[in-house]
């Protein structure tokens, strides 16, 4: 993704900071609003260069729509993950078969990779151990048969990626590019 202009970066940083201020103070008092706007302006002027690379392009309607659609999907995946955990913890025989598998991602941006790693950690039976370039190393609490019995490395990566990263990538690729 190409670098955005300074003005676009500045406006984007200001908008994000001001929304953050509104949420944290939770008040619509005029004094609070003016203070928040002034502080957001100062901080945006100081940090807009390191805060974002794409600037206002992040607020493209398609991206925002996908981000909003991602929230219920993610919450649902998280609830499923916790029912899975509850089953494994409460089951007397403790049904676990852990292992570290390798996945490959198609995401390019660092923010996208971070979000994918966080999403993987909070969803069923998986936790991200390390990210090295495009490779994700994931601790899996129950490695399924088709991954375990893969003939070679590339088939292993393909099967594991299909199970773990694919469902999130179709959202995150649009949101973060």
């Amino acid at each position: 993704m190409e670098e955005a202009s300074r003005a676009s970066k500045f406006v984007y940083t200001f908008i994000v900071l001001f929304i953050l201020w509104l949420v944290v103070t939770a008040s619509l008092d005029s004094q609070e609003l003016i203070t928040g706007a002034v502080i957001a302006l100062i901080v945006a002027a100081l940090t807009h260069d390191v805060f974002t690379r794409a600037g206002l392009a992040n607020l493209h309607p398609k991206r925002v729509a996908y981000a909003i659609a991602y929230i219920p999907y993610f919450l649902w995946a998280m609830i499923m993950a916790n029912l899975d955990v509850a089953y494994r913890v409460l089951h007397p025989a403790r049904p676990i078969r852990p292992g570290i598998v390798k996945c490959r991602t198609v995401l390019n941006s660092d923010t996208g990779k971070l979000s994918l790693a966080n999403s993987i950690t909070l969803t069923p039976g998986t936790i991200t151990l390390d990210v090295d370039g495009d490779n994700y190393f994931i601790h899996w609490i129950w490695v399924p048969d088709e991954v375990l019995n893969a003939k070679d490395d590339s088939e292993h990566v393909e099967k594991a990626s299909e199970a773990i990263t694919r469902p999130f990538e179709k959202y995150l690729r649009v949101i973060f590019g």
């Binding site: 939770a26 998280m78 490779n135 190393f137």
Partner: protein, 135 residues
């Protein structure tokens, strides 16, 4: 008692129950990796339930709507930061050489690190020999 207060109470109860499950996972699982698996997830969803539940319950009790905004902010913050601490901890565990549980079936990360170290070693050797030739 109105509907919002009841929804909030149910959410708080589910949240505290998941807190209990996460602590139980901490006790029952055999090694540090599996403990992290069970406890991080349950504790995060538990916090989400308790904190958002408190916000809804407060609205039901007639407090100002600012409650729900603030509680959702805290819940969102926890949702963003908890997995990051989990990554940092599990990587620290692996880098310190804590072994996987004996029932573990596959370790691709170890293979990756070994092949990387081998490649670096080979590279170091070739650069050394080329230096020797130039001298």
């Amino acid at each position: 008692m109105n509907a919002l207060a009841i929804i909030g109470e149910v959410l708080v109860f589910i949240g505290t129950f998941f807190y209990f499950l996460s602590a139980l996972g901490l006790i029952r699982m055999p090694d540090v990796y599996n403990r992290m698996q069970t406890s991080t997830k349950s504790a995060t969803l538990g916090s989400l339930g308790v904190i958002v539940g408190v916000g809804i319950w407060a609205i039901g009790k007639g407090y100002s709507p600012a409650w729900i905004v603030q509680t959702v902010a805290v819940a969102g913050f926890l949702l963003l930061t908890n997995p990051i601490s989990a990554h940092a901890l599990i990587r620290a565990a692996y880098k310190r050489g804590i072994p996987l549980w004996h029932g573990s079936v596959v370790d691709k990360y170890g293979e990756h690190l070994a092949s990387k170290a081998q490649a670096e070693e080979a590279e170091g050797e070739t650069s050394e020999t080329s230096e020797g030739v130039s001298e």
